[in-house]
Symmetry: C2
Subunit: 338 residues, 2 copies
């Protein structure tokens, strides 16, 4: 049995270039005692993947060149020599950029079947994306009704969920996104209060117009000049949830962060977070999110690209903003009953 | 009666230059109903003063050119047409860079007399400096025994108090300062666990040596490259109290702050604060600090320069690090009984 795998050949410098990731074929070995063979169905492509390629340890171990590219997956158990997993079970794990994943089961968790939610939703709204939005907004910033929330990368997978949770909590929500179409989708389809196209509009002036009472909460996905603009409009004792800094992920040298001066004089509370820290509380988010989806209060878009061979080209869309919704590679057929 | 006053003539660009502040004489006017005439005894010189000269509103109103330079003072009531204040009372207020200050009493508070603490201590350890150190460390970062605390500008007025409160709370305390003499004073006289001379030593390497268990708390007074070095050594879920950013105060253009990436991957909580926000809780700090001074657990140094005419030259010492302890101008004789 052949396994196609994307191998990290070089730590990319700047943009990901041809040859940094190379697809290779290898044969699937026999299982050892306690091993599980998983066939990957969906592969999650996320901005954070770029950091994993850097060769530096962060909240996860450093990758080495020659490793299969790391990635979050949903798959089906094809064979199991581990009593905790049965053939046919659907599981979520870090299965990597490959067709098959062999694991001893550590970090692998079953996904409930028959819930009525399609399997790809567990890769987005009911997966890491939804958890990130939920805990990053609610746990870090504790939004109160009537407050003004600004979200950057607002039309992105996480940002669009943050916007809608903000509305559910009674906030005035302003999104910053990279095209008129995205801005219209945010306002017209998701019902937020205003959106700014950072590529064509003056962010400072538009924030002044849209946030007449200042900004109480900023959900940070991007870093750089957009952040500086938001900081100038923040209210005293504002809160910032630091989720991502995508504007700097492809930088060839360290990009200085936004100036700290406004954090000081405005007494801002800023907190970075990593969604994995909330693992034990995922059930809280799951309960709220499934309720909100059923009530029609949260919509989500998955941008599913078929074919593992498209992983490398597709991840670049995250940095150009070409993806529409959560970017997912369909690695193999979904033969499940969800 | 003549009043000598330092007038802000220009908003300084970069370093404070000759002519930005000019000393002028004016006559003291008659008091109106509710007015109080205060003779300034001590004038506080602080890094934050540089921001007040910028012409931009921050946590205080913007200064205008032609204004008497703003500054914290201790003085004695010389005449009062306000029933809340009696002649001879000692008061703390924003009396400015001048010999006499006329006010309606707003923001003026009496200093207790006969406490056994010299009057200048109310300008440092028992004044804004001590309050800043106390609340900035304890309220923002909640240090726990056994944790590692790093303090920048550690030999400065605020930093040296923070170091000692950190020791009182059982922390391992590492200071960063700008001369070997300051480092020796911190370790030998104040009893902290280690000190780094940022002008001659490699901060990253020294932090690695001195903070073998990483850094849990960073008390931030400086910004810039020192901060970047500390961030690389911080532990997951570390806390940063953002008190000052003196390395950028004289910058002619906006200096980008330290990169935010480490704040994210290390889930750092950062909080800016302004000591005035704690006004109603000053009594808590006062009680603890006076106890600690009496017990010999806290030492402080005041660097008192006689003569209002030396205010402009003296404030420059803060940015070159030439001051030794809290920088205070003695404007007139202390005729009180403290």
């Amino acid at each position: 049995m052949i396994n196609k795998q994307w191998i990290l050949k070089n730590f990319p410098v700047g943009d990901i270039k041809e040859g940094d990731l190379v697809m290779e074929e290898t044969s699937v070995p026999e299982l050892n005692e306690n091993d599980v063979l998983i066939r990957n169905i969906y592969l999650s492509l996320d901005p954070a993947n770029r950091g994993w390629m850097s060769g530096r340890a962060s909240y996860v171990d450093a990758m080495k060149t020659g490793d299969v590219m790391r990635g979050g997956t949903i798959g089906v158990v094809e064979k199991s020599k581990n009593q905790k997993f049965k053939e046919g079970e659907i599981v979520n794990c870090m299965g990597g950029w490959q067709e098959f994943f062999i694991t001893n089961g550590k970090g692998v968790r079953q996904i409930p079947q028959g819930t009525g939610f399609p399997l790809d939703s567990y890769m987005s709204i009911l997966g890491m994306t939804g958890m990130t939005a939920y805990f990053g907004l609610l746990d870090i910033t504790k939004p109160q009704s009537g407050e003004t929330l600004v979200v950057s990368a607002a039309a992105g997978a996480v940002g669009s969920i943050v916007c809608q949770i903000g509305k559910i909590k009674g906030c005035k929500v302003i999104g910053i996104a990279g095209s008129d179409e995205k801005c219209q989708w945010l306002v017209n389809d998701l019902g937020i209060d205003g959106a700014i196209n950072y590529k064509t509009e003056n962010i400072r002036n538009r924030l002044k117009d849209l946030c007449s009472d200042g900004v109480d909460i900023y959900f940070e996905n991007v870093g750089g000049t957009i952040t500086d603009a938001v900081l100038t409009r923040m209210n005293i004792n504002g809160r910032i949830s630091l989720c991502g800094l995508i504007s700097g992920y492809n930088a060839e040298s360290l990009v200085p962060g936004p100036a700290w001066g406004n954090l000081l004089i405005k007494r801002i509370m800023l907190k970075g977070f990593i969604v994995f820290d909330y693992f034990k509380r995922y059930i809280e988010a799951y309960q709220d999110l499934t309720t909100w989806i059923k009530e029609g209060k949260i919509k989500y878009k998955n941008h599913i690209v078929p074919g593992l061979e498209n992983a490398e080209n597709s991840i670049k869309k995250l940095f150009s903003g070409e993806n529409e919704g959560k970017l997912i590679i369909k690695v193999s057929e979904d033969t499940t009953q969800n």
